[in-house]
């Protein structure tokens, strides 16, 4: 399925990441109440900002002045494959990727719920060879490989991730092919009735911080870099400190039934103490295509790939355990040069009839000694919405589609749904459920109170329960964030004092970068930009690149109070300011929980 078909377009380049990191700490932010935890100070915003800067060196808060902005650079089309191998002589090769988005973690304290909000992606330029791809859905990160680059022990530098999204033809996807054979082939394939559009799958790896690949956690050089950043931050101005990653990627067809946001191909997951990360496979009549983009570790600073010798894909009969070799490839097929040339995708020719014979077998990847490195997880359930937001008081139905060996499974199947702790480390609740006859599991999600948690579905005849927490290499999962209602805040008189203290101060504290665009503590500016603020915070624009707050954590009550303020004429504001404050009837349980997390040094 998917990008493992041809035609496909290969990508290579760099990505810059500029998230605000201050909300990554439970001492700074409460992800249930969606509020910063302010220090006790007369000017709580100033104290919070100072505290964030003071955390740079001792706590590793590496980007208090981040913007959440993500951008590709030095990135473009590196090669194409029309079915006869990887070539670079298509005129579309070297076309640049134009991509800017906003990196937001649904669960701010962890690394397993990252997503990028954006408006569109362009490969090439208007008037020339181009794929113009307006957004259908946000990019989602899955299959975080925490053992990808263990040499690069610096913050998340050890990890890689699969980032995927898909672009529907119906959303304005356009291919300007001119005389490019690759784009002509892609445009022709897109016309297929069962083709929904295009999928873009990226692998992002070797992330560096402070623009220095030599830094390591806890090293004197890292401390020095942190101190230099603090000096900049204390010197004033706008002082972002973006991280940088390498990326490889692929553009291919998105067919009906395929998940938009993560690989729906046959999944090969690490077996035992395998050094590999998960891989995805597709069998065609003539070829086996293996996506190793997230699999083989870099073992040196110059990104040499681990040499595991020749690797063989075998098909194993689940009943008899009889093994049929499908193909073998050598180190030169998955070393660094090969990886960068074809985004980690390895294609092996198949003997006639081999694909059909392997259709109901389990795939394995073995080394020359016969050790199983990757084993197929034949049946799994993939969420339709990988990261789900809802408000307190709201109900939504989340769905998971069961796949068997890369295809939707149309059968009523028992599924155990595990509701996990917010960080995904423990099972909080076990829910025995069943899919409908189409293999669709429907899960009612009710927003009872502000909370963050993941669901992990496990097929009854599939893998073991996630007792040790989410295994990002094996488990599929859906993260849920419920924003508290904050009804009491919505009922407050719309005075400047109320709106600032209960709404704007939160983001003024967490996002100093806002000073570049709007002084959130300036009532005149806030009023002047009322129309813009309402447009940018409109829930209907939730998926938009410019949605505010970028972190998607403004509650309904906060929005109500803000809009009441923005909409009120000046005389009404004066009257509200003169009125007695409304009695506060906050959610006491939530307040109680917040008080259990004292600010640092308290």
């Amino acid at each position: 399925m998917s990008v493992l078909e041809t035609p496909r377009i290969f990508l290579k380049g760099e990505m810059s990441w500029d998230p605000i990191t201050t909300n990554n700490y439970d001492t700074n932010y409460d992800e249930d109440t969606d509020k910063p935890i302010f220090p006790k100070a007369a000017d709580k915003v100033k104290a919070f900002r100072t505290q964030a800067i003071n955390q740079v060196v001792p706590a590793g808060n590496w980007n208090p002045h981040g913007t959440h902005r993500v951008a590709s650079y030095d990135a473009g089309v590196s090669a194409v494959d029309l079915g006869a191998g990887v070539v670079k002589n298509d005129p579309f090769v070297a076309a640049a990727i134009q991509f800017t988005g906003m990196l937001v973690d649904l669960e701010p304290f962890g690394a397993t719920s990252s997503q990028i909000y954006f408006d569109g992606m362009t490969f090439g330029i208007d008037g020339g060879y181009r794929i113009l791809a307006p957004r259908t859905s946000r990019f989602t990160a899955r299959y975080i490989n925490f053992a990808r680059n263990t040499v690069n022990k610096m913050i998340a530098g050890v990890a890689s991730a699969v980032w995927q999204t898909s672009f529907a033809k119906s959303d304005g996807l356009r291919v300007d092919a001119f005389d490019s054979p690759a784009l002509q082939a892609l445009a022709k394939a897109l016309a297929g009735a069962d083709v929904l559009g295009l999928t873009v799958r990226l692998n992002v790896y070797r992330t560096i911080y402070y623009d220095n690949p030599a830094l390591r956690n806890g090293s004197p050089a890292t401390k020095q870099a942190g101190e230099a950043l603090v000096a900049k931050l204390q010197g004033g101005g706008f002082q972002p400190n973006p991280a940088r990653s390498h990326l490889v990627g692929v553009i291919g067809l998105w067919r009906k039934g395929e998940p938009a946001h993560e690989p729906g191909d046959r999944a090969l997951c690490p077996a035992g103490q395998s050094p590999l990360g998960s891989a995805y496979a597709r069998l065609d009549a003539k070829a086996l295509t293996l996506d190793l983009s997230n699999s083989v570790s870099e073992v040196t600073e110059d990104l040499k790939k681990q040499d595991l010798g020749p690797l063989t894909v075998v098909a194993v009969d689940p009943a008899t355990q009889a093994r049929t070799p499908l193909g073998t490839f050598k180190y030169g097929d998955y070393d660094r040069a090969a990886y960068e040339a074809s985004a980690g995708i390895v294609t092996l020719p198949l003997a006639a009839g081999a694909a059909k014979a392997a259709g109901d077998k389990d795939l394995q990847l073995r080394d020359a000694s016969g050790t199983v490195l990757l084993a197929e997880q034949a049946v799994r359930a993939i969420p339709e919405t990988p990261n789900l937001y809802l408000d307190e008081g709201e109900s939504k139905t989340a769905t998971f589609q069961v796949y068997e060996r890369g295809s939707p499974k149309a059968a009523a199947l028992p599924v155990t749904l595990y509701k996990m702790s917010p960080d995904g480390s423990k099972v909080a609740n076990t829910l025995p459920m069943k899919t409908d006859p189409n293999g669709v599991l429907s899960v009612p999600v009710v927003g009872t109170t502000g909370a963050v948690f993941p669901y992990v579905p496990v097929l009854a005849n599939g893998d073991p329960p996630p007792a040790g927490g989410i295994d990002t290499q094996a488990n599929t999962y859906m993260y849920v964030r419920i924003l508290p209602a904050d009804g009491d805040i919505g009922l407050m008189p719309p005075t400047w004092d109320n709106v600032y203290a209960n709404v704007l101060a939160n983001w003024n504290a967490l996002a100093p970068c806002m000073d570049n665009w709007l002084m959130l503590d300036d009532p005149a500016q806030v009023k002047q930009y009322a129309a813009v603020l309402k447009r940018l915070t409109d829930p209907a624009r939730f998926e938009s690149f410019r949605f505010m707050p970028v972190t998607r954590d403004m509650t309904k009550g906060e929005r109500t109070l803000l809009y009441n303020y923005l909409d009120a004429p000046a005389e009404a504001l004066a009257a509200a300011a003169a009125a007695k404050p409304a009695p506060l009837s906050r959610n006491l349980a939530a307040l109680s929980r917040a008080m259990r997390r004292p600010p640092p040094g308290a």
Binding site: D74, D211, G235, G237
Partner: protein, 338 residues
Amino acid sequence: MIRLQLKPLTSLKDAQAQLQTAIGVEFGTLPPYLYALYSIKPGTNAEAAQRIKSVVLQEMIHMCLACNILNALGGAPKLQPQSYPGPLPGDIGPNGTPLTLHLYAFSSDAMAQAMAIEQPEKVPDFPVVHAEAALAAQAKAVTIGEFYAALDAFLAKLPASDWHKGRNQIVDDQFFAGQVFAVNGYPDARQAIHDIVSEGEGAKDDPLDFQHDIAHFYRFGEIFHGKVLTKADNPLHYSWGPAKFPVDWAGAYPAITDPGLHDFSHEPPAAQAAQKACDAAYAALVDALQAAVTGHDGTLGQAVRAMFDLRIAALHAFTVPLADPARVAGPAFRYKHS
């Protein structure tokens, strides 16, 4: 059309002076482009605004790269605010008459002027291959690309000892990922000059720059013509259109041209205050940039903040009516502290 005065290059000092001129040219293009950009009303001309903004950012990058070269050669970049209307530093024009740059609101006049600034030399009347011969002759009038080519030819001959590694360099660790880099020797300088010329003028006989995007002249051309520059099956390989580039000239504030010439003493206090705020914001920006290009740590971040402050001041100024309520005035780009 810009024609820069190319003086004979015989010493390091000559090269430093020429780089200072280049810095002045890059810096001097910013106010006219920003005036046009900020005068676009919210909700209109999104594509055009994006085109202009992309050029502004690249001009900032070019200025940083030119400063890096000058710093690497032991020089001291000086950001000299210019007056508008007025010529770019070093411009002597094709016929002895320099191009007078005006501050125009977003309009066909503004785009025509921008094209004139960025216009490449299609007829190689002063081709690069003749640049060294020009060195021994008297001063000549050359395009920006030829100006840089002559500089490149001279820099190639400098001994390694003239280059100072790591001196006051601006890099991309905070801003402009992948686009600003340290100049530590001639190869870096050559790359920087290549990038500057390529993005400004494109390759010879090709409107695309080294990043396979269209060069500045053609970006402005798309807005001016209201047509997308499109690959075409003709001898020139491109045509303007047929696809339209969306432009709404009416989507600009009714701003006066060249506010620096306007007497604001009879304008409403709000308009005077808006001008004063713009002047102060621009002066703060120049000061912060000056510190940044002369090696003061952290000041690039202060300059970027100042840039945002200038933007906010400018956007406000474009909404404040003058005594003639049908007119407004944007920033005059006066270096004037409040």
